[in-house]
Protein backbone atom coordinates (compact mmCIF):
# COMPACT_ATOMS: atom_id res chain seq x y z
CA UNK A 1 0.00 0.00 0.00
CA UNK A 2 1.43 3.37 -1.04
CA UNK A 3 2.57 5.88 1.56
CA UNK A 4 -0.34 8.14 2.65
CA UNK A 5 -3.00 5.67 1.54
CA UNK A 6 -5.57 4.90 4.25
CA UNK A 7 -7.71 2.44 2.32
CA UNK A 8 -7.18 0.31 -0.74
CA UNK A 9 -9.63 -2.18 -2.26
CA UNK A 10 -8.44 -4.58 -4.95
CA UNK A 11 -10.70 -6.75 -7.11
CA UNK A 12 -13.50 -6.77 -4.57
CA UNK A 13 -16.20 -9.31 -5.41
CA UNK A 14 -19.44 -9.63 -3.44
CA UNK A 15 -22.05 -12.17 -4.42
CA UNK A 16 -25.53 -12.53 -2.97
CA UNK A 17 -27.70 -15.53 -3.84
CA UNK A 18 -28.48 -15.25 -7.53
CA UNK A 19 -26.49 -12.11 -8.31
CA UNK A 20 -23.04 -10.58 -8.23
CA UNK A 21 -23.31 -7.12 -6.63
CA UNK A 22 -19.64 -6.15 -6.94
CA UNK A 23 -17.55 -7.60 -9.73
CA UNK A 24 -13.87 -6.77 -9.31
CA UNK A 25 -14.10 -3.28 -7.80
CA UNK A 26 -10.78 -1.54 -7.08
CA UNK A 27 -10.03 1.88 -5.62
CA UNK A 28 -7.78 3.63 -3.13
CA UNK A 29 -8.21 6.59 -0.76
CA UNK A 30 -5.42 8.77 0.60
CA UNK A 31 -5.36 10.75 3.85
CA UNK A 32 -7.17 14.08 3.61
CA UNK A 33 -8.89 13.08 0.37
CA UNK A 34 -12.62 13.61 -0.17
CA UNK A 35 -13.96 10.76 -2.26
CA UNK A 36 -17.53 10.62 -3.59
CA UNK A 37 -19.12 7.26 -4.28
CA UNK A 38 -21.74 7.81 -6.97
CA UNK A 39 -24.16 5.45 -8.64
CA UNK A 40 -27.82 4.55 -9.08
CA UNK A 41 -29.90 2.75 -6.44
CA UNK A 42 -28.90 -0.88 -6.07
CA UNK A 43 -25.50 -0.34 -7.73
CA UNK A 44 -23.61 -1.55 -4.66
CA UNK A 45 -22.69 1.64 -2.79
CA UNK A 46 -23.90 0.37 0.59
CA UNK A 47 -22.28 -3.02 -0.13
CA UNK A 48 -18.92 -1.28 -0.62
CA UNK A 49 -19.35 0.59 2.68
CA UNK A 50 -20.39 -2.54 4.58
CA UNK A 51 -17.40 -4.42 3.15
CA UNK A 52 -14.97 -1.66 4.15
CA UNK A 53 -16.48 -1.43 7.64
CA UNK A 54 -16.09 -5.18 8.08
CA UNK A 55 -19.85 -5.77 8.40
CA UNK A 56 -19.99 -7.89 5.25
CA UNK A 57 -17.69 -10.69 4.20
CA UNK A 58 -16.74 -10.21 0.55
CA UNK A 59 -16.67 -13.28 -1.66
CA UNK A 60 -13.13 -12.50 -2.75
CA UNK A 61 -10.73 -9.61 -3.12
CA UNK A 62 -8.35 -7.63 -1.01
CA UNK A 63 -8.88 -4.74 1.40
CA UNK A 64 -5.87 -2.93 2.79
CA UNK A 65 -6.25 -0.40 5.61
CA UNK A 66 -3.81 1.66 7.60
CA UNK A 67 -5.21 1.27 11.07
CA UNK A 68 -4.47 3.77 13.81
CA UNK A 69 -3.31 1.90 16.87
CA UNK A 70 -5.12 3.04 19.99
CA UNK A 71 -2.43 1.88 22.39
CA UNK A 72 0.29 4.07 20.93
CA UNK A 73 0.64 6.79 18.33
CA UNK A 74 2.43 4.63 15.81
CA UNK A 75 0.61 3.64 12.67
CA UNK A 76 1.02 0.34 10.96
CA UNK A 77 0.20 -0.98 7.57
CA UNK A 78 -2.16 -3.85 8.02
CA UNK A 79 -2.97 -6.30 5.32
CA UNK A 80 -5.90 -8.63 5.26
CA UNK A 81 -6.55 -11.03 2.45
CA UNK A 82 -10.14 -11.89 1.98
CA UNK A 83 -10.62 -15.24 0.38
CA UNK A 84 -13.94 -16.27 1.86
CA UNK A 85 -12.67 -17.92 5.02
CA UNK A 86 -14.07 -16.88 8.37
CA UNK A 87 -10.70 -16.27 10.01
CA UNK A 88 -9.43 -13.75 7.48
CA UNK A 89 -12.77 -11.94 7.33
CA UNK A 90 -12.72 -11.44 11.09
CA UNK A 91 -9.24 -10.00 10.90
CA UNK A 92 -10.41 -7.48 8.32
CA UNK A 93 -13.37 -6.33 10.36
CA UNK A 94 -11.28 -5.84 13.50
CA UNK A 95 -8.94 -3.53 11.64
CA UNK A 96 -11.75 -1.65 9.93
CA UNK A 97 -13.68 -0.91 13.10
CA UNK A 98 -10.74 0.90 14.65
CA UNK A 99 -10.00 3.02 11.65
CA UNK A 100 -13.33 4.54 10.62
CA UNK A 101 -15.97 6.93 11.87
CA UNK A 102 -19.35 6.10 10.38
CA UNK A 103 -22.36 8.33 9.71
CA UNK A 104 -25.42 6.27 8.70
CA UNK A 105 -27.96 7.67 6.27
CA UNK A 106 -31.05 7.54 8.45
CA UNK A 107 -30.95 8.62 12.06
CA UNK A 108 -34.10 9.87 13.73
CA UNK A 109 -34.41 11.22 17.25
CA UNK A 110 -37.68 11.79 19.12
CA UNK A 111 -38.22 15.33 20.37
CA UNK A 112 -38.56 14.11 23.97
CA UNK A 113 -35.45 11.92 23.89
CA UNK A 114 -33.26 12.84 26.89
CA UNK A 115 -30.20 13.14 24.70
CA UNK A 116 -28.21 16.33 24.27
CA UNK A 117 -25.84 17.08 21.43
CA UNK A 118 -22.83 16.58 23.70
CA UNK A 119 -24.22 13.18 24.74
CA UNK A 120 -24.19 12.08 21.08
CA UNK A 121 -20.60 13.32 20.66
CA UNK A 122 -19.61 11.59 23.90
CA UNK A 123 -20.96 8.30 22.53
CA UNK A 124 -18.67 8.77 19.55
CA UNK A 125 -15.64 8.88 21.84
CA UNK A 126 -16.25 5.87 24.05
CA UNK A 127 -19.81 4.66 23.44
CA UNK A 128 -18.57 1.21 22.46
CA UNK A 129 -16.55 0.71 25.65
CA UNK A 130 -17.71 -1.29 28.66
CA UNK A 131 -17.06 -0.14 32.21
CA UNK A 132 -16.96 3.34 33.67
CA UNK A 133 -15.14 6.26 32.06
CA UNK A 134 -11.88 7.17 33.81
CA UNK A 135 -10.71 10.30 31.98
CA UNK A 136 -13.79 12.49 32.25
CA UNK A 137 -11.86 15.77 31.96
CA UNK A 138 -10.11 14.63 28.80
CA UNK A 139 -13.39 13.45 27.36
CA UNK A 140 -15.17 16.73 28.06
CA UNK A 141 -12.26 18.62 26.48
CA UNK A 142 -12.48 16.45 23.39
CA UNK A 143 -16.25 17.05 23.15
CA UNK A 144 -15.69 20.83 23.24
CA UNK A 145 -12.98 20.55 20.56
CA UNK A 146 -15.14 18.51 18.21
CA UNK A 147 -18.15 20.79 18.63
CA UNK A 148 -15.90 23.75 17.81
CA UNK A 149 -14.45 22.00 14.76
CA UNK A 150 -17.89 21.18 13.43
CA UNK A 151 -19.17 24.71 14.10
CA UNK A 152 -21.92 23.79 16.53
CA UNK A 153 -20.61 24.69 20.02
CA UNK A 154 -23.81 26.63 20.78
CA UNK A 155 -25.88 23.46 20.35
CA UNK A 156 -23.96 21.46 22.99
CA UNK A 157 -26.74 21.39 25.59
CA UNK A 158 -29.69 21.25 23.19
CA UNK A 159 -31.84 18.15 22.88
CA UNK A 160 -30.80 16.56 19.61
CA UNK A 161 -34.43 15.70 18.78
CA UNK A 162 -35.31 19.40 18.65
CA UNK A 163 -32.73 20.22 15.96
CA UNK A 164 -33.29 20.54 12.20
CA UNK A 165 -32.23 17.79 9.78
CA UNK A 166 -29.12 19.73 8.76
CA UNK A 167 -28.11 20.35 12.38
CA UNK A 168 -28.66 16.67 13.24
CA UNK A 169 -26.41 15.72 10.31
CA UNK A 170 -23.66 17.97 11.70
CA UNK A 171 -24.12 16.38 15.12
CA UNK A 172 -23.67 12.94 13.59
CA UNK A 173 -20.53 14.12 11.79
CA UNK A 174 -19.24 15.39 15.16
CA UNK A 175 -20.14 11.99 16.66
CA UNK A 176 -18.08 10.21 13.98
CA UNK A 177 -15.17 12.67 14.26
CA UNK A 178 -14.99 12.40 18.04
CA UNK A 179 -13.22 9.04 17.92
CA UNK A 180 -10.38 10.60 15.86
CA UNK A 181 -10.80 8.26 12.89
CA UNK A 182 -8.38 8.05 9.96
CA UNK A 183 -11.34 8.06 7.63
CA UNK A 184 -14.98 9.05 7.83
CA UNK A 185 -17.58 7.05 5.95
CA UNK A 186 -20.87 8.83 5.31
CA UNK A 187 -23.88 7.12 3.74
CA UNK A 188 -25.85 9.69 1.71
CA UNK A 189 -25.04 12.68 3.98
CA UNK A 190 -26.92 15.10 1.71
CA UNK A 191 -30.14 13.10 1.46
CA UNK A 192 -33.31 14.89 2.61
CA UNK A 193 -31.51 18.20 3.23
CA UNK A 194 -32.49 21.55 1.74
CA UNK A 195 -29.96 23.35 -0.45
CA UNK A 196 -28.67 25.60 2.35
CA UNK A 197 -28.12 22.66 4.69
CA UNK A 198 -26.46 20.72 1.86
CA UNK A 199 -23.99 23.58 1.34
CA UNK A 200 -23.22 23.74 5.07
CA UNK A 201 -22.61 19.99 5.32
CA UNK A 202 -20.42 20.01 2.19
CA UNK A 203 -18.37 22.92 3.61
CA UNK A 204 -17.96 21.06 6.89
CA UNK A 205 -16.80 17.89 5.14
CA UNK A 206 -14.30 19.92 3.12
CA UNK A 207 -12.89 21.35 6.38
CA UNK A 208 -12.66 17.86 7.84
CA UNK A 209 -10.66 16.58 4.89
CA UNK A 210 -8.49 19.61 4.16
CA UNK A 211 -7.91 21.03 7.65
CA UNK A 212 -8.08 17.88 9.80
CA UNK A 213 -6.56 15.72 7.04
CA UNK A 214 -9.15 13.04 7.69
CA UNK A 215 -10.12 11.11 4.59
CA UNK A 216 -13.83 11.49 3.77
CA UNK A 217 -15.58 8.71 1.85
CA UNK A 218 -19.22 9.48 1.14
CA UNK A 219 -21.99 8.23 -1.08
CA UNK A 220 -24.41 10.43 -2.99
CA UNK A 221 -27.01 10.24 -5.72
CA UNK A 222 -26.04 13.58 -7.23
CA UNK A 223 -22.42 14.61 -7.78
CA UNK A 224 -23.27 18.28 -8.41
CA UNK A 225 -23.27 19.64 -4.84
CA UNK A 226 -19.96 17.83 -4.31
CA UNK A 227 -18.13 18.87 -7.49
CA UNK A 228 -16.20 21.79 -5.86
CA UNK A 229 -14.83 19.66 -3.02
CA UNK A 230 -14.46 16.17 -4.48
CA UNK A 231 -10.88 15.02 -5.05
CA UNK A 232 -11.84 11.70 -6.52
CA UNK A 233 -15.03 10.01 -7.64
CA UNK A 234 -15.84 6.32 -7.63
CA UNK A 235 -18.68 5.66 -10.05
CA UNK A 236 -20.28 2.27 -9.55
CA UNK A 237 -22.78 0.64 -11.87
CA UNK A 238 -23.68 -2.95 -12.72
CA UNK A 239 -21.12 -4.28 -10.27
CA UNK A 240 -18.23 -2.45 -11.98
CA UNK A 241 -16.58 0.76 -10.82
CA UNK A 242 -14.44 3.54 -12.28
CA UNK A 243 -12.21 5.56 -9.95
CA UNK A 244 -10.36 8.84 -10.49
CA UNK A 245 -10.73 12.64 -10.69
CA UNK A 246 -14.22 13.79 -11.69
CA UNK A 247 -13.34 14.77 -15.25
CA UNK A 248 -11.63 11.43 -15.85
CA UNK A 249 -14.60 9.37 -14.63
CA UNK A 250 -17.71 11.44 -15.25
CA UNK A 251 -17.40 11.53 -19.04
CA UNK A 252 -19.28 9.86 -21.86
CA UNK A 253 -16.56 7.35 -22.69
CA UNK A 254 -16.16 5.91 -19.16
CA UNK A 255 -19.88 5.88 -18.28
CA UNK A 256 -20.75 4.31 -21.65
CA UNK A 257 -18.23 1.60 -20.89
CA UNK A 258 -19.67 1.06 -17.40
CA UNK A 259 -23.29 0.95 -18.53
CA UNK A 260 -22.65 -1.05 -21.67
CA UNK A 261 -24.60 1.39 -23.85
CA UNK A 262 -24.30 5.03 -24.86
CA UNK A 263 -24.33 7.61 -22.07
CA UNK A 264 -23.74 11.34 -22.69
CA UNK A 265 -22.36 13.73 -20.07
CA UNK A 266 -22.93 17.49 -20.47
CA UNK A 267 -21.71 20.49 -18.55
CA UNK A 268 -24.65 22.86 -17.96
CA UNK A 269 -23.58 26.07 -16.19
CA UNK A 270 -21.09 24.13 -14.08
CA UNK A 271 -23.52 21.30 -13.29
CA UNK A 272 -23.23 17.84 -14.73
CA UNK A 273 -26.13 16.38 -16.65
CA UNK A 274 -25.96 12.71 -17.55
CA UNK A 275 -28.22 11.41 -20.28
CA UNK A 276 -28.68 7.79 -21.29
CA UNK A 277 -29.47 6.47 -24.74
CA UNK A 278 -33.28 5.96 -24.78
CA UNK A 279 -32.67 2.54 -26.36
CA UNK A 280 -30.36 1.58 -23.53
CA UNK A 281 -32.24 -1.36 -22.02
CA UNK A 282 -33.11 -1.36 -18.30
CA UNK A 283 -31.15 1.80 -17.56
CA UNK A 284 -33.55 3.66 -19.82
CA UNK A 285 -36.42 2.55 -17.54
CA UNK A 286 -34.52 3.85 -14.52
CA UNK A 287 -34.00 7.19 -16.19
CA UNK A 288 -37.63 7.62 -17.11
CA UNK A 289 -38.68 7.01 -13.54
CA UNK A 290 -36.57 9.81 -12.14
CA UNK A 291 -35.51 12.64 -14.31
CA UNK A 292 -37.53 12.55 -17.50
CA UNK A 293 -36.83 10.97 -20.85
CA UNK A 294 -33.36 9.51 -21.00
CA UNK A 295 -31.94 11.35 -17.97
CA UNK A 296 -29.96 9.39 -15.40
CA UNK A 297 -30.71 11.16 -12.16
CA UNK A 298 -29.05 9.27 -9.31
Amino acid sequence: MANGTVLEARDLVVEFPGRRVLDGVSFSIREGELVSLIGPNGAGKTTIFRSVLGLLKPTSGLILTRAKRQSDSATAATTARINGTAATATATSTVAKRAFGYVPQQVSFDRELPLRVKDVVRLGIDGHKFGFSRDRKGREKRIAEVLEETGIPELASKRVGELSGGQQKKVMIAHALAGEPEMMILDEPLANLDLKSQDQVVALLERVSKVKHVAVFLSAHDINPLIPVTDKVIFVSGGKAACGPINEVMNSEVLTSLYGHRVDVFDYHGRMVVLADPEGGHHHDHAEGHGGEGRLNW
Binding site: E112, L115, R116, G127, H128, F132, A176
Partner: protein, 262 residues
Protein backbone atom coordinates in the same frame (compact mmCIF):
# COMPACT_ATOMS: atom_id res chain seq x y z
CA UNK B 1 -45.53 2.34 60.02
CA UNK B 2 -41.92 1.54 60.91
CA UNK B 3 -42.31 -1.77 62.75
CA UNK B 4 -39.89 -4.54 61.76
CA UNK B 5 -41.98 -6.03 58.95
CA UNK B 6 -42.65 -2.56 57.59
CA UNK B 7 -38.94 -1.73 57.67
CA UNK B 8 -38.37 -4.77 55.46
CA UNK B 9 -41.06 -3.45 53.11
CA UNK B 10 -39.51 0.03 52.91
CA UNK B 11 -36.03 -1.35 52.23
CA UNK B 12 -37.19 -3.94 49.68
CA UNK B 13 -39.38 -1.37 47.97
CA UNK B 14 -36.47 1.05 47.70
CA UNK B 15 -34.17 -1.59 46.17
CA UNK B 16 -36.83 -2.56 43.64
CA UNK B 17 -37.57 1.08 42.80
CA UNK B 18 -33.89 1.86 42.13
CA UNK B 19 -33.56 -1.30 40.02
CA UNK B 20 -36.76 -0.56 38.08
CA UNK B 21 -35.75 3.06 37.54
CA UNK B 22 -32.31 2.18 36.15
CA UNK B 23 -33.26 -0.82 34.00
CA UNK B 24 -36.50 0.83 32.90
CA UNK B 25 -34.62 3.89 31.62
CA UNK B 26 -32.77 1.79 29.04
CA UNK B 27 -35.93 -0.20 28.24
CA UNK B 28 -37.81 3.00 27.38
CA UNK B 29 -34.78 4.54 25.63
CA UNK B 30 -34.64 1.58 23.25
CA UNK B 31 -38.40 1.27 22.80
CA UNK B 32 -38.45 -2.21 24.35
CA UNK B 33 -41.56 -1.65 26.45
CA UNK B 34 -43.44 -4.53 24.82
CA UNK B 35 -40.69 -6.94 25.89
CA UNK B 36 -40.80 -5.43 29.39
CA UNK B 37 -44.50 -6.25 29.46
CA UNK B 38 -43.95 -9.75 28.08
CA UNK B 39 -41.21 -10.96 30.43
CA UNK B 40 -43.16 -10.57 33.69
CA UNK B 41 -45.82 -12.88 32.28
CA UNK B 42 -43.12 -15.56 32.29
CA UNK B 43 -43.45 -15.45 36.06
CA UNK B 44 -46.85 -17.11 35.76
CA UNK B 45 -45.28 -20.23 34.21
CA UNK B 46 -42.08 -19.95 36.26
CA UNK B 47 -43.96 -20.06 39.56
CA UNK B 48 -45.87 -23.10 38.32
CA UNK B 49 -42.70 -24.91 37.28
CA UNK B 50 -41.14 -24.15 40.68
CA UNK B 51 -44.23 -25.48 42.50
CA UNK B 52 -44.16 -28.73 40.53
CA UNK B 53 -40.41 -29.15 40.98
CA UNK B 54 -40.63 -28.25 44.68
CA UNK B 55 -38.01 -25.48 44.50
CA UNK B 56 -38.00 -21.81 45.55
CA UNK B 57 -40.44 -19.84 43.34
CA UNK B 58 -37.68 -17.29 42.67
CA UNK B 59 -35.68 -19.97 40.83
CA UNK B 60 -38.64 -20.73 38.57
CA UNK B 61 -39.31 -17.04 37.98
CA UNK B 62 -35.70 -16.35 37.06
CA UNK B 63 -35.37 -19.40 34.79
CA UNK B 64 -38.53 -18.66 32.81
CA UNK B 65 -37.83 -14.92 32.59
CA UNK B 66 -34.36 -15.58 31.22
CA UNK B 67 -35.74 -18.13 28.75
CA UNK B 68 -38.25 -15.52 27.60
CA UNK B 69 -35.43 -12.96 27.23
CA UNK B 70 -33.35 -15.37 25.12
CA UNK B 71 -36.37 -16.20 22.95
CA UNK B 72 -37.27 -12.55 22.33
CA UNK B 73 -33.65 -11.47 21.69
CA UNK B 74 -33.15 -14.36 19.24
CA UNK B 75 -36.32 -13.91 17.20
CA UNK B 76 -37.08 -10.19 17.36
CA UNK B 77 -35.62 -7.87 14.74
CA UNK B 78 -36.49 -4.57 13.08
CA UNK B 79 -38.79 -6.23 10.56
CA UNK B 80 -40.66 -8.57 12.91
CA UNK B 81 -42.75 -5.77 14.49
CA UNK B 82 -43.14 -7.44 17.89
CA UNK B 83 -44.73 -10.64 16.54
CA UNK B 84 -42.15 -12.97 18.19
CA UNK B 85 -42.61 -11.17 21.53
CA UNK B 86 -46.38 -11.59 21.31
CA UNK B 87 -46.10 -15.27 20.38
CA UNK B 88 -43.60 -16.02 23.16
CA UNK B 89 -45.87 -14.24 25.66
CA UNK B 90 -48.93 -16.26 24.71
CA UNK B 91 -46.91 -19.48 24.59
CA UNK B 92 -45.61 -18.92 28.13
CA UNK B 93 -49.09 -18.06 29.37
CA UNK B 94 -50.29 -21.34 27.82
CA UNK B 95 -47.54 -23.26 29.59
CA UNK B 96 -48.54 -21.54 32.84
CA UNK B 97 -52.15 -22.62 32.44
CA UNK B 98 -50.93 -26.19 31.85
CA UNK B 99 -48.95 -26.10 35.12
CA UNK B 100 -51.98 -24.64 36.90
CA UNK B 101 -54.10 -27.58 35.76
CA UNK B 102 -51.72 -30.25 37.10
CA UNK B 103 -50.88 -28.90 40.57
CA UNK B 104 -52.95 -27.59 43.47
CA UNK B 105 -50.21 -25.78 45.41
CA UNK B 106 -49.55 -23.51 42.45
CA UNK B 107 -52.95 -21.84 42.85
CA UNK B 108 -51.99 -20.55 46.28
CA UNK B 109 -48.95 -18.77 44.87
CA UNK B 110 -50.79 -17.11 42.00
CA UNK B 111 -52.10 -14.14 43.94
CA UNK B 112 -48.67 -13.36 45.38
CA UNK B 113 -47.01 -13.71 41.98
CA UNK B 114 -49.50 -11.52 40.19
CA UNK B 115 -49.92 -8.79 42.81
CA UNK B 116 -46.96 -9.10 45.21
CA UNK B 117 -46.87 -9.20 49.02
CA UNK B 118 -44.60 -6.35 50.00
CA UNK B 119 -45.79 -6.38 53.61
CA UNK B 120 -44.82 -10.02 54.04
CA UNK B 121 -41.17 -9.88 52.98
CA UNK B 122 -38.85 -11.85 55.25
CA UNK B 123 -35.29 -10.91 56.25
CA UNK B 124 -33.95 -13.69 53.98
CA UNK B 125 -35.90 -12.39 50.98
CA UNK B 126 -34.64 -8.91 51.76
CA UNK B 127 -31.02 -10.04 51.46
CA UNK B 128 -31.78 -11.74 48.13
CA UNK B 129 -33.58 -8.66 46.79
CA UNK B 130 -30.85 -6.28 47.97
CA UNK B 131 -27.92 -8.36 46.73
CA UNK B 132 -29.42 -9.07 43.33
CA UNK B 133 -30.49 -5.45 42.87
CA UNK B 134 -26.97 -4.20 43.56
CA UNK B 135 -25.45 -6.75 41.16
CA UNK B 136 -28.01 -5.95 38.46
CA UNK B 137 -27.64 -2.16 38.75
CA UNK B 138 -23.84 -2.55 38.71
CA UNK B 139 -23.97 -4.74 35.59
CA UNK B 140 -26.24 -2.29 33.77
CA UNK B 141 -23.92 0.54 34.82
CA UNK B 142 -20.92 -1.26 33.32
CA UNK B 143 -22.84 -1.82 30.09
CA UNK B 144 -24.59 1.55 30.02
CA UNK B 145 -22.52 3.12 27.23
CA UNK B 146 -22.67 0.15 24.80
CA UNK B 147 -26.39 -0.34 25.56
CA UNK B 148 -27.07 3.36 24.95
CA UNK B 149 -25.28 3.53 21.61
CA UNK B 150 -26.83 0.21 20.54
CA UNK B 151 -30.39 1.34 21.14
CA UNK B 152 -29.98 4.94 19.92
CA UNK B 153 -27.48 4.60 17.06
CA UNK B 154 -27.55 0.93 16.03
CA UNK B 155 -25.66 1.45 12.75
CA UNK B 156 -22.85 3.35 14.51
CA UNK B 157 -22.70 0.69 17.22
CA UNK B 158 -22.44 -2.06 14.63
CA UNK B 159 -19.69 -0.19 12.79
CA UNK B 160 -17.85 0.20 16.13
CA UNK B 161 -17.88 -3.58 16.55
CA UNK B 162 -20.76 -4.06 18.97
CA UNK B 163 -22.90 -7.15 18.39
CA UNK B 164 -26.48 -5.88 18.36
CA UNK B 165 -28.01 -9.26 19.22
CA UNK B 166 -25.83 -9.67 22.29
CA UNK B 167 -26.52 -6.14 23.49
CA UNK B 168 -30.28 -6.70 23.19
CA UNK B 169 -29.95 -10.00 25.07
CA UNK B 170 -27.95 -8.26 27.83
CA UNK B 171 -30.68 -5.62 28.25
CA UNK B 172 -33.48 -8.18 28.28
CA UNK B 173 -31.57 -10.35 30.75
CA UNK B 174 -31.43 -7.31 33.05
CA UNK B 175 -35.19 -6.90 32.62
CA UNK B 176 -35.69 -10.60 33.43
CA UNK B 177 -33.57 -10.27 36.56
CA UNK B 178 -35.34 -7.08 37.65
CA UNK B 179 -38.69 -8.75 37.06
CA UNK B 180 -37.85 -11.80 39.15
CA UNK B 181 -36.52 -9.73 42.03
CA UNK B 182 -39.36 -7.22 42.01
CA UNK B 183 -42.22 -9.72 41.88
CA UNK B 184 -42.51 -10.30 45.64
CA UNK B 185 -42.81 -6.54 46.09
CA UNK B 186 -45.13 -5.34 43.35
CA UNK B 187 -46.15 -8.51 41.50
CA UNK B 188 -46.02 -9.55 37.85
CA UNK B 189 -48.85 -7.31 36.72
CA UNK B 190 -47.36 -4.15 38.18
CA UNK B 191 -43.61 -4.49 37.68
CA UNK B 192 -44.27 -3.22 34.18
CA UNK B 193 -45.46 0.05 35.75
CA UNK B 194 -42.20 0.45 37.68
CA UNK B 195 -40.08 -0.39 34.63
CA UNK B 196 -41.83 1.94 32.23
CA UNK B 197 -43.66 4.78 33.94
CA UNK B 198 -40.78 6.49 35.83
CA UNK B 199 -38.46 6.34 32.81
CA UNK B 200 -41.18 7.51 30.42
CA UNK B 201 -42.02 10.40 32.75
CA UNK B 202 -38.34 11.32 33.07
CA UNK B 203 -38.09 11.79 29.28
CA UNK B 204 -40.37 14.81 29.57
CA UNK B 205 -38.60 16.35 32.55
CA UNK B 206 -34.87 16.24 31.77
CA UNK B 207 -32.76 16.61 28.64
CA UNK B 208 -29.62 14.56 29.35
CA UNK B 209 -28.90 10.85 29.55
CA UNK B 210 -27.44 11.01 33.04
CA UNK B 211 -30.26 13.26 34.22
CA UNK B 212 -32.73 10.82 32.73
CA UNK B 213 -31.41 7.91 34.79
CA UNK B 214 -31.39 9.98 37.99
CA UNK B 215 -34.91 11.32 37.39
CA UNK B 216 -36.21 7.85 36.53
CA UNK B 217 -34.83 6.43 39.79
CA UNK B 218 -36.17 9.32 41.87
CA UNK B 219 -39.67 9.02 40.39
CA UNK B 220 -39.64 5.25 40.95
CA UNK B 221 -38.52 5.60 44.58
CA UNK B 222 -41.14 8.28 45.33
CA UNK B 223 -43.82 6.13 43.66
CA UNK B 224 -42.95 3.09 45.77
CA UNK B 225 -42.60 5.01 49.05
CA UNK B 226 -45.93 6.77 48.57
CA UNK B 227 -47.57 3.48 47.61
CA UNK B 228 -46.28 1.55 50.62
CA UNK B 229 -47.19 4.37 53.00
CA UNK B 230 -50.69 4.75 51.64
CA UNK B 231 -51.23 0.98 51.52
CA UNK B 232 -50.34 0.81 55.23
CA UNK B 233 -52.64 3.68 56.14
CA UNK B 234 -55.64 2.64 54.03
CA UNK B 235 -55.24 -1.16 54.03
CA UNK B 236 -55.62 -1.11 50.25
CA UNK B 237 -53.28 -3.08 47.92
CA UNK B 238 -49.84 -1.60 47.23
CA UNK B 239 -50.27 -2.48 43.56
CA UNK B 240 -53.29 -0.22 43.27
CA UNK B 241 -51.24 2.78 44.37
CA UNK B 242 -48.20 1.83 42.23
CA UNK B 243 -50.38 1.60 39.12
CA UNK B 244 -52.24 4.81 39.93
CA UNK B 245 -49.13 6.87 40.63
CA UNK B 246 -47.51 5.40 37.51
CA UNK B 247 -50.25 6.77 35.28
CA UNK B 248 -50.57 10.06 37.18
CA UNK B 249 -46.80 10.65 37.03
CA UNK B 250 -46.66 10.03 33.30
CA UNK B 251 -49.67 12.23 32.50
CA UNK B 252 -48.36 14.93 34.83
CA UNK B 253 -44.89 14.93 33.24
CA UNK B 254 -46.34 15.15 29.73
CA UNK B 255 -48.64 17.98 30.72
CA UNK B 256 -45.84 19.87 32.46
CA UNK B 257 -43.61 19.45 29.41
CA UNK B 258 -46.30 20.83 27.09
CA UNK B 259 -47.03 23.79 29.35
CA UNK B 260 -43.38 24.77 29.81
CA UNK B 261 -42.53 24.41 26.10
CA UNK B 262 -45.20 26.94 25.05
Amino acid sequence: MFSSFMVNAWIAGTFVAVLGGVVGFYVVLGGNTFAAHALPTSAFAGAGAAAIAGVDPLVGLLAFSLLGAVGIASLENRASQGVPTALITTFILGVGSLFLSITNSYGEQIFAVLFGQVLGISRGELWAIGGTSIVCVGAVGLMSRPITISVLLPASAEAAGLNQGRMKLALLAAVALATSIALPVVGALLIFTLLVSPAASARYLVSSLRGGVVASVMIAVITVWLSIGLAYLTNLPVGFFVGTFGVLGYVGARTLSKVTSR
